[in-house]
Subunit: 232 residues, 2 copies
């Protein structure tokens, strides 16, 4: 029904929060940024970072603000994941949470929040029962990331500003949990127009023959996609 008259009973007050699923690849594992709760409810449990949306800011702006506060880095990829609005998801009051997915390269170390809660990168495979419905949100975020690697250039968001093809391949292997044929992967990603931009320089940080360094290109969509199950 279209509500055409506003009266107090029409808009019961809700609190609106943002929750962040911040993912990175470090030590050959897909990791999420988690904070340990210092207060009830769920005191001592891991939770997604997040916070209340202020009246003067947009929901998207609140997410961007929280992301900078938590990581200490700006310019990371950030996109809306979904909104979670079960009546009893917070035991104290009615809270609707807008979840966001952010991708980060291997950052030096998590920045502690302005409050005392400790933050840490936790491999998603080792995460168990987060506070509130955050396990569901994290699962949705991981699945979104896995799916978008197929048809977008999102994988490069896990890499530093300059990276090798092998580093990008490692991202795909870790996020998807598969092993890919290095040669076919190389042909594929160097063949997609606008995905990688050669820097002209190279690095031998991986031991063998020096690998060419690339930057993210302008392309954001992969046509055709890089389907899960490429190579071995």
């Amino acid at each position: 029904m279209l509500c055409v008259v506003y009266s107090p009973s029409d808009f019961p007050p809700f609190a609106v929060t943002v929750d962040l699923v911040v993912l990175t690849v470090r030590a050959d594992a897909l990791c999420a940024l988690l904070v340990r709760r210092g207060e009830a409810p769920f005191r001592g449990r891991w939770a997604l970072p997040g916070g209340f949306v202020q009246v003067t800011e947009s929901v998207d702006a609140a997410a961007a603000r929280e992301l900078v506060e938590e990581t200490g880095v700006s310019g990371l990829h950030l996109e809306q994941l979904g909104t979670y609005g079960e009546p009893r998801r917070d035991p104290r009051m009615r809270v609707v949470s807008v979840a966001y997915l952010a991708l980060a390269p291997d950052l030096p170390v998590p920045v502690a929040g302005t409050d005392a809660a400790a933050a840490s990168w936790v491999p998603v495979a080792e995460v168990s029962s987060l506070a509130f419905d955050h396990s569901v949100i994290l699962g949705d975020g991981v699945e979104r990331a896995r799916a978008k690697l197929e048809y977008t250039s999102l994988g490069t968001e896990f890499c530093p500003a300059e990276f090798t093809v092998a580093e990008l391949r490692r991202v795909y292997e870790v996020v998807w949990g598969v092993s890919l044929d290095a040669r076919n992967f190389h042909r594929k990603v160097t063949g997609v127009e606008g995905l990688l931009e050669a820097t002209g320089r190279s690095t031998s940080r991986d031991g063998g023959r020096p690998a060419a360094l690339y930057r993210r290109g302008a392309a954001s969509v992969l046509h055709p996609p890089l389907v899960r199950g490429v190579g071995a």
Copy 2:
């Protein structure tokens, strides 16, 4: 920052609404269900159907309730589209709206809401400047529908319970605004495992040789996808 203490200033009151992008294919056009507003602001302007989320129901449940109220039909495909939370999107107060995308077959006639507002199917190509930020939401919904036709079985949600391959092809052509090669399309959709389920019956409602009637199959994902640009 992780808010560990709740105080009144932490959760300024928001109103939470759901808005519905309900799409259908009728008369060879992609149409959206719109309502005409009977009250200020935007009085007389077209808007998306929607309403307030009640304290006792989940956000998803509110969307499902509104969808049944507006269409008179249950069981339609419904998925979250995104959340729109600019501070001034509603001129009167702070409203955060969770938008949903619903797909419907060609329904007999829109059911008028419980209030006086008139509802109507409007071709999306003819929609101009809706109330609030609803034009943006509608655009996002249409784009989501177009994208998901590629890699999911969503196209069949626009069709009645039993439909022919030509009817499904017409859905793709209208939603994408392209013309597809009937023969390649037939090969593709009948070849995808689990997409279509033969009924054994046929219909000659289209003039020529009777066409086989199919039901939606169990498959929800198209592997490999049906890429935009198939055929001519």
